[in-house]
Symmetry: D2
Subunit: 474 residues, 4 copies
């Protein structure tokens, strides 16, 4: 019966981590897929000991920006190559960045353009969320259905950020199309008008330094918009993914909505878990490094977010990687004297996400199965990446060996992405990535990149379960 | 490297179901353990095709009564042999019944006695929850710690049922010991005084027929007791398992407690999911067949419980199998003219639990991974049965082949347990158990039992995670 | 000491009803004010027995439309005279209708125009809420502060109804001005985009009859908008009055907001308490008589609203009188074949409000002190009508004698307002208005009007307590 | 018509404060009753200017202990004379202390005994709550109904304090009798078993000083017991009064219960509003002065309780006056080396309650109408003291003149009750009592007592509204 060729690769005797638990097992790979898990599996052409190592699924980062530029024209610091290099070195083998329509752009052309760039540059596998900012009839009725059918199973909408903002009528329209076509809808939920109001007051009071940016996004702005978004989704009866929850209060909205039968998902990001707005209190403009949107919050919020991850109220952790250099090409593009309003929001995160989560498990804040779930299995399942995120027979052999005895010290010197800085300088993490396999091939080994740009592949997908409103008992 | 002997058994090409998903894979068994999962695994001494079948983990029924008699002296209808035969035929390979101390009994002797009976009779594997009704100093300070250390990692307490009841002081004492020794505490949470008050009023009004038993357990009695229990657990900072939630209202208590950081678990049972109290409205005493405690409830409760299973607010589904014949040896022991108060509560469920859940998946109420989680993986994980409930390398090869094309019609004629009746007569279920393996050996095949009494083994275990209060962020 | 002139009027021996209770007392009036309450008061120039009668404060209807036309150009059926005649006959002696700015209108001119009309026509006293639909700089920075300072202490905003709608940025701006100037902000809170979405679907499905209007305002539209409004108010830290709550769900938003320290008020209207949308299921267009916004709801909502009145979650009951004839001059202006979208929303209510509330007290749904509170005392207090709504020394002698032995049967024939129909045809109410005094003078007596148009006076007022955010403990 | 004799007393031109507002008015008294309110009332035999003074209703203290001794045999420091002297000097003219049955006592005899003492000693009017600790058949079926019918319309139950405790079955029984007879049920709601558990642990750890008493009553003990009590009341469908809420969390239980239609009341006490447990951190045993039950709590609780008073979630403020001297006759009766467990709980409060509330109004924490409501009108209404608590025609002329220009400095030297100490030494209050009238007669004037012991009268009363469950909409 085992007349097949031998395995291409066998990782021997590692501690294999899935959302269900940790087992000691060999992992055998053939044709880029996981062929078998078990003890004493037959030999592979390549054999590697994983003894004393944890074998986790390759990370899936379902929210990260690898656009060329912002709506305001500020250059992102990353190319596809630099962004995916950071991902790979950080144990992430699949990313879902955005194909970003700006006002007036043709969505079909935008997506085509992103494909061209990604096809040339990506080191790891990828899919796209389509950012819709201009829900014109052509976009909504023609381009969007065609693109969803061609494997672009999710869209993203901003409730804030002029000129990206889509109003409630637009969201209803997009939810309706997404429901008809079976696509997932992701949303940046903050009240634009509240942020605008608060920002105007701060600037009028001369509070222009980066540290005031956190105040310019009132926590009520997140609470209100998430409540509104859930109501819109309930009206159309189509699920939503709530991006980057940063405060404690919306968690009760999420719980209550689920209790009454709503289908929705929610995520948070490492910077909300590991940083507070206190870090922005730096001289001059240096606080700008930590400006992001929604902004950093308080210790009480951190505690609530960790608890929500453990309790299942939040479903996954993404990076919201948004890379700008801390120089005139990025954060400081508006020159000296600029206010926080004129500085780009966002911080790098593709590389640090999985190491931070692994460290959290080593320190007992999460379990390792929770890390596998939050960092890989859940995003793959929710976004319908059917072969990704799991260590199971038939799945893509995206595997990361973690050495729990080693340490990873985050610093500006070792950053792999294009920003040149880390938001966590000096943080000493337990554990280190030892090797990264994508579809059975080494991508990173012994701290060296093993593949060329263009190695990554596009992952077409429908909306999957994420696009189905779970009705009450049949 | 694969110098080891060939596999003992390989199930080929089935749809393997775990909590993480469904994959097509061979399952190879050696020495009673799952040796490997994968495609095209080497041959086994025994080969069996699982094509077109779902391979689920053997069910784990973590709440069922196989005691000899009730506190009131009424005989249970089951021997260990009959109870575990029903389990096996229903796709359940592990049970956690009770070793039940009654007032005045010596706990150590009770447990020893149960071991003797189980050792002789069990067809499937088993552990015990120790029912404590007499938290005397000897029980609490001497017997209990010793028994926990010898592998009896959980205790059960009744908040109602004179003379089983343990008062709040007793629960605090037991939670304290459980915390010190690392044991899990399970609780039947209903307000004794409320039930007593409501019962007295019904009897005084001449409402003595079985159908009034449902009214005699006010839904407030469950709500109040669960609220109280959670507070007791929070005071001691030790988790609890809330047995058999039957109504909608306590779900918000569970959600709120988790939101503020409490560690707890909760279950429901098939009869609350598939029946309502309307079924008790039968002539004469026939309604007694459906008397259980807590009682059957309403359609709105059903809908809430299904939703809670899908949302993760409830962790598992157990049978609460409590077997009494519908004759003078059981339900009708008090003779003609008896009131509902004089009839034993409980209904059989060991055999029907997994078939009902599988059917629910076929009809879209749950997913198959949810069935694996709720019926096997979660109870094994929560009760620290480390080798049970999962289909993963190294786990016990407890495997059930389900044929989704066949049907199972429940009827009194086909019941395997000692009660002689089913609570679901005529119910036509999608799917049927085709074969059941325990530690790699067939227990049921082609509707025939394959093993002898005594085949089942005791599973010593500590409290595991279930005994640890998850503190907030470290 | 009592050298003063004798009283002008003494009502003898009535059951005087205030929010604090019911006492048997004479009420003495001098110079239009209540001079004394007590037993055996000295004689007045006019003496009237109130034995066997309840003496309630004159009703204060703080939400009613006496505009000339709607934004859509449809004529209101009432003049100031007809509207205030209906009020007077229904036991209401003070009204707060609107001075309604439409897009492009100059607010100062609008208010002046309304004063002219009211001055000539009013039979009872009045103040104005200023409807702002165009928060231009001149309106917001110049006219509004000046008008507030001249005694127009409240503004109203629509979150729905194109072209009346004010967006969230506009509401924040108006809250800010209201806070600075000490004015009260009242809001029609429904999500415009949700209503628009639902309406479009109904019309597309050919559901154009009036009874579908209720579906066109999803209950989620009210829930969402009230949640949003509360968040906006909390951001600015200035109170709001939530107009016409029609559904059950927002009540929890109101309770939660108050629990965390927010200052806000909320009202409902008689049609939500006494009618359901079932009444709209009439042949042809007759359902249009009951079209209002928010629309009529369900029996469960009714029960929740009554409970909220008793529990204090809702503060007052206003009529939202919005008068259109059921003919081509009003509801049917768009001609045959019109859809519900083309018919004016609103129903008459100035006359029926207090009789319905009095009847509710007679039937035990409310207490009489609650009727005094909800119908007179609370609206006067909340809107800072310092001399109105109370039966207390020094207050205006606005007094209504109610005969609890008589009946009032509502019918189209006896309607006093300009619409010519009642929403409650045939309803037989316990109790009847016997006499109505405004500032000590009879306005209605023995079913005859006693005064001429122009008798009513404008009541200048600041925002009062309603304009102050109650901070937490000092 | 005004042929009646002139008034006995007229207070001229004061600011008369009721729950509805503040008006300038004369208050005329005849035959002990308020005869009239108004401007320029006819002359009285006695005339007194109240210009520049606030005239409040005499305080009603509905929860205070004037028993002879505790269950533990420790002597209360007060006689009826000393307790009611403190009340009178503090502006309180009606008290509802307890007639306290201890285990084994005959309830009818207990009440008779209390009547004898009160009849001889009381300086102000009074009613009784009957403390039931022994719900024997004679007590419940015979004595209690007879006593309720003779004007003792309320009972009190302890859920903690061995041997006073009544278990849930007892509470259900008493609620049932109270419902049948129309009586009000008041409850000290703390979990006895939780307090017992926490106390044992503290003592075992050597934490025996008074300051640890606060820890010995876990806040969960109050939360749990209030939740349980509400459920018991909902089962019987009879209201309860929740005594002395001390923590924030139960407020949500109260709000939720009311939202679902439950009728209940709740109070707090000045020491929870003005003190925290930090005050107990004194050398030696001095902290014992502030030991009370439930114990003093945190600043966050204070803020929540103030907010709850303003929002109407708490209905009234009582003193829970429980007087023990800080010497061997009282707090220190167990001698040197005693633990907190051996010291009597309770602190004096009859005299300070109204001055503290008046001061709160002067400082803006409450309004004066709220003080009238919380301190007099609400307790009189809730406990059915029909002629008390209100300044309205026909009510008892219980009137207190407050001078807002004067100050009251609390100190051990000026205490009027028998304890000899104040819990608020040195606190400087805005406002002072200038004169106190009971049924029109001066009780205190110019800091001198004007009446003799025995002046107070018993106030027979039924349960009133307090005994009626408000059903949902009729």
């Amino acid at each position: 019966m085992a007349e097949r060729a031998p395995y291409d690769l066998v990782l021997r005797g590692g501690q294999v981590v899935t959302a269900s638990g940790v087992v000691t097992a060999d992992v055998a790979v053939r044709d880029g897929k996981i062929a078998a898990l078990g003890a004493d599996l037959p030999a592979g052409r390549v054999e590697r000991s994983a003894k004393g190592r944890y074998v986790l699924p390759g990370g899936v980062d379902s929210h990260c920006h690898v656009e060329q530029m912002t709506a305001a024209g500020i250059m992102n610091a990353d190319t596809w190559e630099s962004a995916t290099r950071a991902a790979a070195f950080g144990g992430t083998t699949t990313i879902i960045p955005f194909a970003a329509q700006h006002r007036g752009m043709d969505l079909a052309e935008v997506v085509q353009d992103y494909h061209l760039r990604a096809d040339r540059g990506a080191l790891v596998d990828y899919a796209f969320h389509m950012i819709i900012t201009d829900p014109s009839p052509k976009t909504v009725q023609k381009d969007l259905p065609a693109l969803i059918r061609s494997g672009h199973g999710s869209i993203k909408v901003f409730m804030t950020y002029d000129p990206l903002i889509v109003d409630d009528a637009g969201i209803l329209k997009l939810l309706q199309v997404a429901k008809a076509e079976g696509a997932q809808v992701c949303v940046h939920a903050e009240s634009h008008d509240m942020i605008h109001w608060a920002t105007a007051r701060l600037l009028a009071e001369g509070k222009t330094a980066p540290r005031h940016q956190a105040e310019s996004h009132p926590r009520l702005a997140e609470y209100e918009a998430i409540g509104r978004l859930i109501a819109l989704a309930e009206l159309v009866r189509h699920p939503v993914m709530i991006f980057h929850v940063s405060t404690a209060e919306p968690l009760s909205l999420i719980r209550d909505a689920r209790a009454r039968g709503a289908t929705l998902w929610a995520e948070t990001c490492p910077h909300y878990l590991f940083l507070t707005d206190a870090v922005m209190d730096k001289p001059g403009t240096e606080g700008a490094k930590w400006m992001c949107s929604p902004p950093l919050r308080t210790e009480a919020d951190q505690a609530a977010l960790w608890q929500a991850l453990r309790a299942g109220d939040l479903d996954l952790v993404s990076s919201d990687h948004a890379p700008f250099r801390y120089d005139a090409s990025g954060k400081l593009a508006a020159g000296p004297g600029a206010t926080f309003k004129q500085m780009a929001n966002g911080m790098p995160g593709l590389g640090a996400r999985m190491p931070l989560l692994f460290d959290a498990a080593m320190r007992g804040r999460l379990t390792l199965p929770q890390v596998a779930e939050l960092g890989a299995e859940a995003p793959a399942r929710i976004y319908n990446l059917q072969d990704k995120g799991r260590i199971a027979p038939g799945a893509d052999a995206d595997l990361v060996l973690w050495n729990p005895e080693a340490r990873t010290v985050l610093s500006d010197d070792t950053v792999q992405d294009g920003t040149g800085y880390t938001p966590y300088p000096g943080r000493d993490l337990i554990g280190a990535v030892e090797a990264v396999y994508l579809r059975g091939q080494p991508v990173v080994n012994e701290d060296r990149l093993q593949v060329q740009p263009g190695h990554g592949r596009f992952l077409p997908r429908g909306g999957g379960d994420a696009a189905i409103w779970q009705e009450k008992a049949v």
